[in-house]
Each structure stands twice: as C-alpha cells, then as structure tokens.
C-alpha cells in the first residue's frame, strides 16, 4: 500500500503536478533537511542546500527509473548537492595534510556503551563543529555510507587523504563525546 502511494506520488511528480511536488516535500523535507544540517554550519545554510537539492530532484525526477529505493535516490541527490555546495572551498582543506603517506589504524572498533541518553541535537552539533574536511568525509563515510574510493572521486582527493580525514574526525568526535559523558556523570 505504502509502495503504491509512493509510486503514485512519483508518477504525479513526473507529470509535473504541483500537488504531488508539495506532498513529496512534506514527506521527505524534514529527513532531508536533517541530512543537509549535518553538512552545514547553520540552519539557514542547510535550508538553502535543501532548496537547491529539491529543485534538482524535481528537475531530474524523470531520470528515476524505479531501480533501487526512491528514498535512497533522493538522499543521494541531497548529499551530492551538499558536497557541491562546499566544493569550491574544498581544495585547500587537503593541501596541508602531511599524513597522506601514513597508514591509519582503523579506530572504529571500540565498543561504546552509554548509560545516559545522548541528545541527537548534541551529536549533530559535534559533527557541525568539525573542520570542514573532517565533517564532509565523516558524514559521507560513516553516516551516508559512501566508500573511500567514492569520496576520493567526489572530493578530488586521494583515498589515503579520505582515510586520514576520517581518522581525525573520529578522534575529535570521541573526544567531544567523552567530555560530554564526563560532564554528565
């Protein structure tokens, strides 16, 4: 039933129906804004990216052929829009990364146990406060599920740089979360 509704919605959008676009926005807008917010510094910047992304979705809706999940498809467009939004500023974030040659130990294997509920807003804030390069790579790899090779290609950096940015991002995030937990003990 849900799938049928979704396919009707997509069909309506393909026919450029105003009402269908509005429903699509109402249904997916909040989730997609949360994605944009992770990549941006502020709410208004995130809404600008959302707006840009939605316009792309509406213009490219004909190219969605029903292969794979629709939600995945629109999320990918939003992520790409967010990356493009920062692309012009990206290059210099990596110029001074001297650790390119090093191999990074994957620190992602620590077990995390929390006795308290961590506020989601706090987690978003932790990501937002990361330096731009770390933030992009962490969002893309850890949350949006892109591989290092894809990230490297999208950002125009080496795979090792992507790994080193991720390594540093994780280290900073752990520090922030640990400090937060210590404070709330």
């Amino acid at each position: 039933m849900q799938q049928q509704l979704e396919s009707e919605l997509i069909e309506g959008c393909k026919q450029k129906q105003h009402k269908a676009f509005k429903m699509l926005y109402k249904q997916y807008g909040p989730t997609l804004l949360a994605i944009c917010y992770r990549y941006c510094k502020s709410r208004s910047e995130a809404e600008d990216v959302l707006q840009e992304g939605f316009i792309k979705i509406f213009k490219k809706i004909d190219s969605y052929k029903g292969k794979g999940s629709f939600e995945g498809w629109i999320k990918r467009i939003i992520v790409n829009t967010a990356i493009n939004h920062f692309r012009s500023n990206l290059k210099h974030y990596y110029l001074y990364d001297l650790d390119d040659d090093k191999i990074f130990i994957d620190e992602a294997d620590d077990i995390f146990e929390f006795k308290i509920e961590i506020d989601k807003g706090f987690l978003i804030k932790c990501i937002q406060e990361l330096p731009q390069g770390y933030k992009l790579v962490f969002n893309m790899y850890a949350i949006d599920g892109l591989a290092h090779s894809e990230i490297a290609k999208l950002l125009g950096i080496s795979i090792n740089t992507s790994k080193s940015q991720l390594f540093k991002a994780r280290r900073q995030l752990k520090g922030k979360i640990q400090a937060h937990l210590d404070l709330n003990k």
Binding site: Q51, I124, I143
Partner: protein
Amino acid sequence: MKKYKNIDELFKEELNDYSLEPSKDRWKKIESNLFNRFTKGWWIALIILLLVSIPIIFHTYYGNNIKATSNFNPVDSVITMVDSIKYDSNYIIAHQETVKLISSEPKSNNKGNEVIISENIRKNEAEIDLTFGMNIYNDNISNEYKYNNQSIEEIEYRSLYSLNNNNSNLLYEEYPNSIVNNINNKKNKLRIYTSFSGYVGVLYYQDSPDLLTWSSDFGIGYMTNKFYFETGLGYQKAKQNGELRFEYETSDSVGYYNEVISFQINPNNNNEVSYNTKIKNVYDSVIHYSLDNPIYTYDYINIPIIIGYTITRTEKVNLSIQGGLIFSFLTKTYIPVINFDVSDATLLKVTNNTYARANNYTSIHLAIRSSYKLYGSVSLLLQPEFSKSISSISKANGVRRLPYSFGVRGGILFNF
C-alpha cells in the same frame, strides 16, 4: 544502556531517523522557483506592453477632454437662485435652486458679453429641525455639472438661510475654491511632471546583517486628476557583508616534556639516582581558520515603472499610493581591502565565499507619496517606501536571494 560497536555506528544509528521541520516560507521559495511561469521573456513583454499601452489609454480617456476644454473660460462668478422651499411643521424637506456659472472673459464668438457657461438645477433634499425658531440652514451638497457634454466633478457647496414663515432668505453662500479649480483643472487634465529625489533605506538580507542603501533618482511622469504614471533613472548604492575565510599557520605550544638537567647518585645507596628536571615546551606549526566579513559596495542603475493613485488632494497637499517594478542593473562592485592582522602568523590561503551578484534583478516597489506645494509648480516630496526583489540578486543557481528594503524618499516635484 545503549551499546554501539563503534563511533560510526553510534552516529549512524542515532541520526538515522533524525528530522527537522523546514521553516514555513521555504516551500514558497521552492514553489516560486519551480512554478514561476513569468520567465525573463514574459517580463520584458509585460514591460513593453505597459510602456506602450498606458500612454494610449491615457490619451484615449483624456485626450478628447483636453481639446474640448482648450477654449474653456475661467469661472468668475456663481449665481444661485432659490426657487422654492417646502417644509412641514417641523422640517424642511426640500428646496430647489438654479445655479449659473458666469464667465466675464468671453469666448471668441461672443466677444464683449458675459456668457453663462453652465446652468444647472439642483434639487437638494435635507432635513432641518425648525424647533429652534430662527433657523439656519447649512448643508453640504455634492452635485454634478455638465459642460460641453463632459461632467465636472462633484463640488462641495455650502449655503446659509434664514427661515421666515414660507420664505427663506439666503444669508450667505460659499463656493469653495475647488469649484473654480475643478473646472480650470480640466485644461490641464494630462500634466507632465519631473522629480529629483534621494532615498535612504535599510536593506534586509536573509543571510547576512542588514545594511544601509541609498539612491538618487530622476523621474518623469504623466498625471491625470487621479492617476499618474512615472518612469525615470536612478543611481543606487547597496552594501553587503562579504565572507572571507583566512587559513593561517602559527607556531603554537603543542605539549611539553621534562628535560633532565643533572642527576645525582645517592652516596649511601648506589641504586638510587635523583634527577633535576626542567619543563620544556614543544612548539609546532598549527593551522588555524578565521572569518572576516568586510563590507562590499555595489552600484546599480535603476529604471522604475510606477503607477500611482491620488487618494486625496487639497490646495497644498497631495496624498497618493503607488506601486510598480524597479529594474536594477549592476554597474560596479567595490571589493574591500583584505585586512588580516593576526600577529606572528603566516597567511596560507584566503578563500572568498562572498557570492557573486547577478548583473541585473527586478524588485517590486510600494510607496505612499505625500507632496506639499511650496509655490507655483514646485512641491516638496516625502515618501516612505518598501521594495522587495523578486528575482535573485545572486548569480548562484538554486538559492534565490531576495532582500527587501524600507526607507524614506525626499525630493522636489516640478509640474509643467
């Protein structure tokens, strides 16, 4: 207790269903971007249509009147004759007057004679309480006069009567200047005027602090009794905060170690050694980022297309509302001097995130125009204004930047 395999999983799990409600006006912005059928071509067509049609409409409606009133004579006197007055025991219920407008400046075909240029019978209905004995009848009456098959606008009329049995005596009557003005104004139904004015206002941006804007404008317009149509040329300065990002390197303390200065062996126990140490700081180059928001200034040439409607007009004061479009064309951008003053730092890179301005944009304009007649054809102008851009001021695709401004215009109007 929540358990996560690693930090990636923590963020992925927790933020997977995270959602934020977009602000209410965001959909409207997207909607206007997607469904705005007024493309550039349509706007140009609309402007051309307005420019061509408005003078034609004005000419069609008022052109004949100008011809008809070209030999209209000024009104010198007004004669009113009271024909009858009727009343019951308590109230006057009606009276009838004949009003003649007299000109002493004769038409060419009636040289030397006084002529009646208008004659009209007025039937005034009013109720006056007679219980005060000696009564004064004082009313305000609107009426319509006909002259050469054209109607002259409503005229305010006042008259005073003393009432005595079945007769009434006209004590005083007054035709305000408007009666003469209204008639004479027919000569100048379609007038041309020019204006020189200055505007000071505040530009409200959605994504950067609000800043001052000002302009100096020249306008030319056509004016009828109620409507005016105006265009012109203006020079505007607009300011906005830019965004520069500095990346710089400083030599910072990143840690310390204890350096052994000397050591001593305990003479009583050879296995015991005591060290004298000193804390040594370790310095390394550290990259920092900082932001600066210098003020950019932009010069625009503005072309307004405005239509106004006169709400009220007295001999001295004129009050109107007006609306229209302003077409702005970017002529110059002033880039501020970059000011980086962190001591002992090496500047590595400056990234300019200030968005580029579009070469032109359109705004809607709304204003209340008040003018005060100084002398002759010169009036002072005072005009609170609002304008909002309806096409983006930035070049970037997707995000539409639509600032608005509030301000006041002051200037001088010259009527021809």
